[in-house]
Symmetry: C2
Subunit: 407 residues, 2 copies
């Protein structure tokens, strides 16, 4: 299992392109495309919001019904959410434009959008953008990197990850790019993640691996508790690595799942650390829970607590807020058995033992909490399950970014 | 049904006092006491947090087991939460100190605390404070007002309300004071509400009326989604009005419930409007829901959405965030049937009709959203149930107040 360079083009046979289509931004690329000449098995997970953007509806059908997917077209600037039948027709037109130029079926094209809710896409610019990208499709890190930049909204940097492993004597790669938690125009809080792999794997196992892993990675990230109408994770597998096709849960499947988890964990942490206005990545690990689900709920309650997030911004070892957030999470535990630690590159410090504060040094605690990545670790001593959640601090800039007027 | 002046001393036979006990603050009162010479039936509702402060544990037992309650002792500055057996013993010592001086049983005394979690009370100062207050117990608005000020933390003003109505030919009064949503030292996010009435009413109906009303009032308030370890609502009824004892759900009971609702609604709105750093009271009304519970969940999802709250701070008619928050609330509805309005003293404006934005004036919308009290009204057209939730905007000052170091 090796971390490698690159993102969405790291796996064999995947090309990418981007272009400045002028959808909303001036002077920067705002459309991206991913393409594989070999047909891909596709898996996807989508927002659970009752309000679902048109591209979410489109992709759900493609992932469920299409035997093969070849391409993904993404735009930043307008979310194509709350846009009715007209919005859905633009998904089809976008897919048809790409399909016509690539000589594939429109049902082999996924689409994704991030941006303002409630505006219609300028469909002419979108199809012009598709036409501009098709001739520019390229393999290699540069094309992948540029695609990762094109899908950003107020993300402050592109987000990529890739991992390789051996299966059946060949090297298999899983890579991806994502965007999320940045805004220029409000309503752009969408998380989009695009994963590619050259693994040969059945569509069923691909979907199962993705669904299981998302629960421990993207679904454990929270910047502000607001679940977007557009959240989408797509995973395309084109089989170009030449490994024996993975059709059962053997050692190759386990290796694939580990690689997928490493890529997704990296991307999830990149999203959290680049949360709107964030100055720190805040990780919460709950150990000793009675069940995995309890551990997830407890860690997410802490990561989404505004009071805790503000305390992290202030480098304040405000453990009462952490215990309080765990307490209202809905999970049953005994507060008088909880141990709590803070840790970062600056060290590790126990704050609470059996629910009561130790005589710790506030100075040392503040030093630990002043790093760019800080963690709280809570042991609830109810069992042996654990979970990790990722978020960020709550800052003036979060308010500033989101209070600014949309135009 | 008439709004009257005053708060916790508005009902006949209730006295109040306050004192500067020096628990945490300099130069201001930080303890308060409520007393009725006539024995009171007592009802209470308490935090659902698994982590429960010592005074919550004490009061739960008193409300359940004691036939009569005469007094409540409150301190601001230290929450007496996460303080173990020692903390619980201080509740008992506080009650005993008051009981000894008042010639009543310690089981007739409730206690309440708000402040920093994890510190022990300076019990000597608490009992000295009790001794200082007993001789100062007074009827009348002034004593009630001073008590309401003494229980504040970073509340910017005291919160009181009182209502009178006729029952059996006599005037019955329900009054109360509360604090909440302000901080000086973090961890002070407790909501405490103390209600008094001179109604003669059975303990069972008193508890039932309170429990039912809290669901529509205090439980519909959110400043930051963090449920405190100390939240407490106490309602004492001493029967001094001389009305025929309310022992069944007759017209007098209904009148009592309406008065209680008016007092609690007023206090709940005062808490929301005085939320940490708030510049506006934000009310969300959901109508046309399939069930009351759906309406409550939908309105609370909007009121707790950080993105929506930041938009309110920016006077931005960012309706996409409202629809998005309703969408992830967990309630099923058809986004394409939703109507949405903004309203305030500056007017009322429809923004969405059947899930699609109208061609409304952004200027008018911003004008409406620039008032000190603004409301969003969503009609989901699924039934005839409705609910109202109250919150506030998310501001730089919220972050500042909560990021500042505890000392």
């Amino acid at each position: 299992m090796n971390r490698t360079e690159g993102g969405v083009t790291a796996a064999k046979g995947f090309l990418a392109a981007s272009t400045a289509a002028g959808i909303k931004y001036e002077g920067r690329a705002d459309m991206a495309m991913i393409y594989s000449g070999r047909p891909c098995a596709a898996a996807g997970t989508f927002t659970t919001n009752v309000v679902q953007a048109a591209p979410v509806k489109w992709d759900k059908r493609i992932v469920q019904e299409s035997e093969a997917v070849h391409a993904v077209v993404v735009n930043a600037g307008i979310a194509n959410a709350c846009t009715g039948e007209e919005g859905l027709s633009y998904c089809k037109q976008t897919a048809q434009a790409a399909a016509g130029l690539l000589g594939i079926s429109a049902d082999a094209v996924c689409v994704a959008s991030t941006g303002v809710i409630g505006q219609q896409l300028p469909i002419g610019r979108i199809t012009d953008g598709v036409a501009a990208m098709v001739p520019k499709l390229h393999a290699g890190q540069k094309a992948g990197r540029e695609a990762a930049r094109a899908i950003m909204t107020t993300d402050t940097h592109e987000k990529e990850a890739a991992v390789s492993f051996e299966a059946g004597g060949v090297t298999v790669t899983v890579g991806g790019m994502c965007k999320g938690s940045g805004m220029i125009h409000p309503n752009m809080c969408t998380m989009l993640s695009f994963l590619t792999t050259d693994a040969a794997i059945s569509k069923e196992l691909l979907q199962e691996a993705l669904r299981a892993d998302v629960a421990d990675t993207y679904n454990m990230v929270s910047v502000d508790g607001d679940t977007s109408t557009n959240d989408t994770v797509l995973l395309l597998a084109n089989g170009a690595a030449g490994n024996p096709v993975i059709t059962e849960k053997n050692a190759d499947y386990e290796a694939f799942c580990r690689a997928l988890n490493e890529v997704n964990t990296s991307l999830a942490k990149q999203i959290a650390g680049d949360g709107e206005g964030a100055t720190a990545l805040f990780e919460v690990r709950v150990v000793g829970a009675k069940s995995k689900e309890d551990a997830r709920i407890l860690s997410k309650a802490v990561i989404t607590s505004n009071l805790t997030k503000a305390a992290i911004y202030g480098h304040d070892a405000n453990w009462g807020r952490i215990l309080c957030a765990m307490g209202y999470s809905g999970v049953q535990f005994d507060p008088e058995r909880v141990d709590l630690f803070f840790e970062s590159a600056a060290g590790k410090l126990q704050i609470i033992k059996n629910g009561v504060a130790l005589d710790y040094s506030e100075e040392t605690a503040t030093k630990i909490l002043s790093e760019k990545e800080v963690a709280a670790v809570a042991d609830v001593k109810m069992g042996d399950c654990c979970a990790t959640a990722w978020g960020c601090d709550l800052t003036y800039d979060y308010v500033k970014i989101n209070a600014d007027y949309r135009s």
